[in-house]
């Protein structure tokens, strides 16, 4: 099966982007970009789509505290 051959590193970009769009916190999204090269590549914005790491999703005051709840 795909999962055992290539693993999550090779999750198709379209699916990974779809997953990342469901992660509202910028710090969490940045962590995803730092996982591996192929996951970072998913952050390249295709034409007509909103960038994954630019729009402020949460007001600054609502950002998570280090060690606080996610």
């Amino acid at each position: 099966m795909a999962a055992t051959l290539d693993g999550w590193k090779c999750l198709p970009t379209v699916l990974l982007r779809s997953v990342i769009r469901r992660v509202p916190c910028e710090a969490d999204r940045a962590s995803v970009a730092l996982v591996c090269r192929s996951w970072r590549a998913a952050f390249a914005t295709p034409p007509g789509e909103a960038p994954l790491l630019l729009p402020p999703q949460l007001p600054w005051l609502l950002r998570p505290l280090p060690g606080g709840p996610a």
């Binding site: 693993g7 779809s18 990342i20 469901r22 710090a27 591996c36």
Partner: protein, 186 residues
């Protein structure tokens, strides 16, 4: 159908024919057969809806060579669970592209449905949902995967998804600085 069949037998034949019309048989890449509600398959999968409408459904098992039996069993299970439920407004409006539509929160049973899956099974299911054009199932599986990322460091995410760090130390530092604005404290 033979005209001189007994009433009971004819009734039986009619029932079987009716059952045939209500379901579709799908065949996994490893040759296993699964019965799925035709109505639910057409409602939940754009690809299956197209095959049903276009008459390219094979009564002996429509080949889905890209999907293994475990993933197909989960797809069919998901469709059949939906078959008996009244479609909610969320499902009806899910015909909008999943790339742009606002995300619908998974329902309780959908959460449980994906929570019981192994990581490998979840991976195969999200790929199968993508292949079959099942936007609602994509919503549910992508939501589950996103839950596995939230609130974690890159190291923790790598551990959850069993991914090796393929960055050099320098690259990692460079990207970390690029993205420094996103981190509260790093």
């Amino acid at each position: 159908m033979e005209v001189d069949k007994g009433k009971g037998e004819a009734e039986e034949t009619r029932k079987v024919a009716e059952a045939d019309r209500d379901t579709v048989t799908l065949k996994s890449s490893d040759g296993k057969l699964f019965e799925v509600s035709k109505e639910a398959a057409a409602r939940l999968s754009t690809v299956l809806a197209g095959m049903i409408a276009g008459g390219s459904i094979d009564d002996n098992g429509t080949d889905l060579k890209q999907i293994g039996s475990e993933a197909l069993e989960n797809v069919v299970d998901y469709c059949n669970k939906h078959a008996n439920s009244i479609p909610s407004a969320a499902l009806i409006s899910s015909s909008i592209s999943f790339n742009t539509a606002p995300f619908k929160e998974p329902e309780e049973w959908e959460r449980k449905f994906v929570d019981r899956l192994s990581h490998d099974a979840l991976f195969d299911l999200v790929e199968a949902a993508n292949f079959l054009g099942m936007e609602r199932l994509l919503d549910v599986t992508c939501h589950k995967i996103s839950e596995m990322m939230k609130g974690k460091s890159p190291d923790q995410i790598r551990e959850v998804f069993n991914i090796k760090n393929d960055y050099t130390k320098e690259e990692l530092e460079e990207i970390r600085q690029e993205l420094a604005w996103a981190f509260y404290d790093d």
